[in-house]
């Protein structure tokens, strides 16, 4: 339970970062959403053998992390969670495609090794881009933007409530565990036989609490349905961000800039 609570705290810590006040935080959420999607599509449509072409895609996460003053370690440690499955899928390439493809000094890399590296880097970069979007855009602003894009209200309300109810669930779970430990004469965790009833009880208790919270929200005039949403102004800075962010991703995808730089380097 402590583990779940710490993870839920970690979840809300990313939201705290979104309360910052930097240039990136003040941009229109639609611009940030569009740039993130453009970045992901361009990054993920690159060939699995083009290791060097991933390099310019480092600019976006590095520059945004620096401008928004987000701890890089926090983004990297969360992004690393995406690595195991990507590595699992890519490790086979190392053994199957063993054609030598690149020599760096005395080290020769096979095509399989390169595709594994590309997969790992793509995983890190794509996850970093999504985390950055959330770290510079408060969750309510993001969901408001989704409403303006005509996403179904029910789905958005459900996502918001699921996100908020996580804290309630953790509280209920912690209360039940404390109650169990106080009555169990030193036993820390319930026996496996009790698992079904304990978990079921947690679920039903949480349902009751969720209903009470929901009624409280309704008493404050909240109701499910289309709402009037004010749109923040789209400024010149949003245009610049959109053109620079999405345009650079498209340029990096379309042209092999690294090849050009390498060929024309004065050395």
């Amino acid at each position: 339970m402590a583990d779940i609570r710490s993870k839920i705290n970690a979840l809300y810590s990313l939201e705290q970062l979104a309360a910052g006040d930097t240039v990136l935080h003040r941009l229109h959420p639609l611009g940030k959403l569009l740039v993130t999607f453009a970045y992901l599509i361009c990054l993920l449509s690159l060939d699995c053998s083009s290791l060097h072409r991933l390099a310019p895609f480092l600019f976006y996460p590095i520059i945004c992390t620096a401008i928004a003053a987000i701890p890089a370690g926090m983004i990297l440690s969360r992004a690393a969670l995406a690595l195991p499955f990507a590595l699992l899928a890519g490790i086979s390439n190392v053994f199957i495609n063993r054609t030598p493809a690149l020599r760096i000094g005395g080290i020769i890399l096979s095509a399989g090794m390169i595709s594994l590296l590309v997969l790992a880097l793509r995983a890190l970069l794509s996850v970093s881009a999504v985390l950055l979007l959330v770290a510079v855009t408060p969750f309510p602003k993001l969901t408001e933007q989704l409403r303006r894009l005509h996403m179904p209200e029910l789905l958005i309300a459900l996502t918001e409530m699921t996100y908020r109810y996580l804290g309630i669930l953790a509280e209920e779970g912690a209360n039940m565990l404390t109650a169990f430990r106080l009555r169990s004469c030193g036993s820390q965790w319930p026996h496996l036989q009790l698992f079904g009833s304990m978990t079921g009880q947690l679920l039903l208790r949480s349902f009751d609490r969720a209903e009470r919270v929901y009624h409280a929200i309704q008493c404050r005039c909240w109701h499910l349905g289309r709402r009037q949403i004010s749109s923040p102004p789209w400024r010149i800075g949003d245009w610049i961000f959109l053109i620079l962010g999405a345009g650079s991703s498209l340029a990096f995808r379309q042209f092999d800039l690294m090849q050009m730089i390498g060929e024309h380097w004065p050395w």
């Binding site: 583990d3 779940i4 939201e15 992901l40 993920l44 083009s50 290791l51 060097h52 390099a55 310019p56 480092l58 600019f59 590095i62 992390t65 620096a66 969360r78 995406a82 499955f85 990507a86 899928a89 890519g90 086979s92 390439n93 199957i96 495609n97 063993r98 054609t99 493809a101 690149l102 020769i108 997969l119 793509r122 995983a123 794509s126 996850v127 881009a129 029910l154 996502t159 409530m161 699921t162 996100y163 109810y165 996580l166 669930l169 079904g196 009833s197 978990t199 079921g200 679920l203 039903l204 949480s206 349902f207 609490r209 969720a210 092999d256 690294m258 090849q259 390498g262 060929e263 380097w265």
Partner: protein
């Protein structure tokens, strides 16, 4: 089971988004007709939070050295019904993708399909509900939960294999990839089935109305046309099938290809039988069997590309450092 963005190509990710969007649209339309939607919403949200928390707990799978976590689709479908469960799992996957980097943003459509559409709109109406409609006894609930969880995870894992292969990010032959994915998800499915059965049994004993409301013949899927869903699935089948056939046409059969890669054109020397066997094994296990390029192709272009990449990386790092230093300098108290 959560697929990362790196495992999918943009076209496959887009196709899966379209398929999941169709299914979600149908689910929203379906559930909006419910008269007591307001009462169901907190249950859906809390069930979603519960599955979210349950997915954080990884259990080890004995004898494999790996671990798994609950999918939660069948539990949600058992508690809420097919369409509400699909919306709930979509909400869970969205929050996980945005805040936990668990599953990618571009892969969200694929994840909703594998972990939501399959258990909630295929397995629940076709397996779970028909069995329980004959009478929700404890034994039947256990049997149904385990069967439905295993089938939904097997289908989900199969879709992961198809989507990854269509994206061309792994060179594992289809059969080998399948033989790695299916058994591991069989074990996970069994555990998920037991957990689902244990929770649903408790709910049935304490609040039976929660379960029986969803398995009555009047509920959702019978009252709404399945035509749009069938069309969406047919389009997806054509897209996936087309992608697979492209893949099949550009590469030889997996087994032939693997044999060709391992043995190549090198003839094994006919010396001592033990040494020959050992050399063959060594060669098959070596990551780089020939320490040189085949006829020296493509070295120059790749080397310039790498030099360019190195320069770009250094430049990006420098810019990042410079911005951070500048911000620190500006925010430092003025003397």
């Amino acid at each position: 089971m959560h697929m990362a963005d790196a495992l999918l190509s943009a076209p496959v990710g887009g196709a899966m988004y379209a398929a999941s969007a169709g299914a979600l649209g149908w689910a929203v339309k379906n559930i909006e007709k419910e008269p007591q939607l307001d009462r169901k919403l907190p249950l859906m949200a809390m069930s979603g939070a519960f599955v979210f928390a349950a997915q954080m707990i990884n259990f080890s799978i004995p004898g494999t050295g790996s671990s798994g976590h609950l999918g939660g689709g069948m539990l949600l479908a058992g508690l809420l019904g097919g369409a509400p469960a699909l919306l709930t799992i979509a909400a869970v996957l969205t929050v996980q993708c945005l805040f936990f980097a668990d599953g990618g943003l571009l892969a969200l459509g694929a994840n909703i399909f594998n972990m939501g559409v399959i258990p909630c709109l295929l397995v629940w109406p076709l397996i779970f509900r028909p069995i329980l409609r004959k009478g929700a006894t404890k034994g039947r609930l256990w049997l149904t939960s385990i069967l439905a969880s295993v089938i939904s995870l097997q289908l989900g894992a199969f879709c992961v294999v198809l989507e990854t292969l269509c994206s061309g990010v792994t060179e594992l032959p289809f059969g080998l990839f399948l033989s790695l994915m299916q058994p591991i998800h069989l074990a996970i499915g069994l555990v998920e089935g037991i957990v689902t059965a244990a929770i649903l049994t408790y709910v049935m004993q304490t609040r039976p109305e929660l379960l029986t409301a969803n398995i009555s013949p009047q509920s959702e899927l019978t009252s709404v046309s399945l035509k749009p869903l069938a069309i969406a699935l047919a389009i997806l089948a054509v897209l996936v099938g087309g992608g697979l056939s492209l893949l099949a046409s550009s590469y030889p059969d997996g087994l032939e290809w693997s044999i060709q890669r391992i043995t190549g054109t090198t003839d094994l020397e006919r010396g001592d039988a033990v040494h020959s066997q050992a050399a063959a094994v060594q060669k098959s296990l070596a990551i780089l069997p020939d320490y040189d390029y085949p006829s020296g192709q493509g070295q120059g272009t790749t080397a310039s590309g790498l030099l360019g990449a190195a320069i770009t990386c250094a430049l990006a790092a420098l810019i990042g450092l410079a911005i951070s230093c500048l911000k620190k300098f500006r925010s430092a108290p003025q003397q």
